[in-house]
Subunit: 146 residues, 2 copies
């Protein structure tokens, strides 16, 4: 039985999958009142950091292609979070911009998430450690996949 090496990888992959789904479900509790999904929240996070980004720039940060972003952004436009307009300089690029609602809701949405996160009671040091180790794993996987 020399399956031991990949058994560990199996367990870790499933563990990541599981943790990711649970974490997102946890976030959804805070986002549901706003009618936002987790991937939509990620778009808002990116735009709060820097508004007026072309679609492909958002895609690079979140690792989404246009096949995922185009319909997602249309939904966000319909709900009044963002606007979508062609760049005047380059008609291939679609510039994504926050609406007034998208900008001002930041405080309220953060507050809703903060309430949930505060209940989690995980040692911040454990968070930091997990985060650091994840970065290494992500870098390794990214290297394997190009």
């Amino acid at each position: 039985m020399e399956d031991s090496d990949m058994t560990l990888a199996n367990q870790l992959c499933f563990s990541m999958y599981r943790a990711s789904r649970l974490f997102i479900k946890f976030y959804q509790q805070a986002l549901q009142p706003f009618g936002l999904t987790y991937p939509q929240y990620l778009v808002l996070l990116a735009l709060w950091e820097e508004d007026r980004q072309p679609l492909h720039a958002l895609g690079e940060q979140l690792d989404f292609g246009s096949n995922t972003l185009t319909p997602l952004l249309k939904r966000m436009e319909n709900k009044g979070w963002i606007t979508r307009e062609l760049a005047s300089s380059d008609h291939r690029q679609l510039i994504i911009q926050l609406t007034e609602t998208g900008r001002t809701s930041k405080t309220e949405i953060f507050q809703s998430i903060r309430i949930c996160v505060r209940q989690q009671a995980i040692d911040p040091a454990d968070y930091q450690d997990l985060l650091a180790r994840n970065h290494i794993l992500i870098a390794t996987l990214e290297k394997m996949l190009d």
Copy 2:
């Protein structure tokens, strides 16, 4: 600016989401020749461990509801991996069983994954550490979500 506490949670959630998607993409490379998806592979893993399980038992192990499993298992039945039959003792339960192909393919599928995993070159100690920390996080999140 007291957003610091949730910024860490934001980063960790995204990091898990990212790692999970990359890890699954990595596994898909090995699974694609067999026409298997990662969630379908998880079902096979569970059945290789213990064959002839009812749908809800698989759901408990993988944290999937019947809304996810029913169509997934039908696809696996169509491709000849498993059979679906009602339990004679309890007509509500659907017993999932490996086909001959499902049973015997284990070696070949494991071999394909092993080849990919071996290229990863991650320190097994780091794996173990990540896994242990993930378990703690998962337990915490599960506790928060019931």
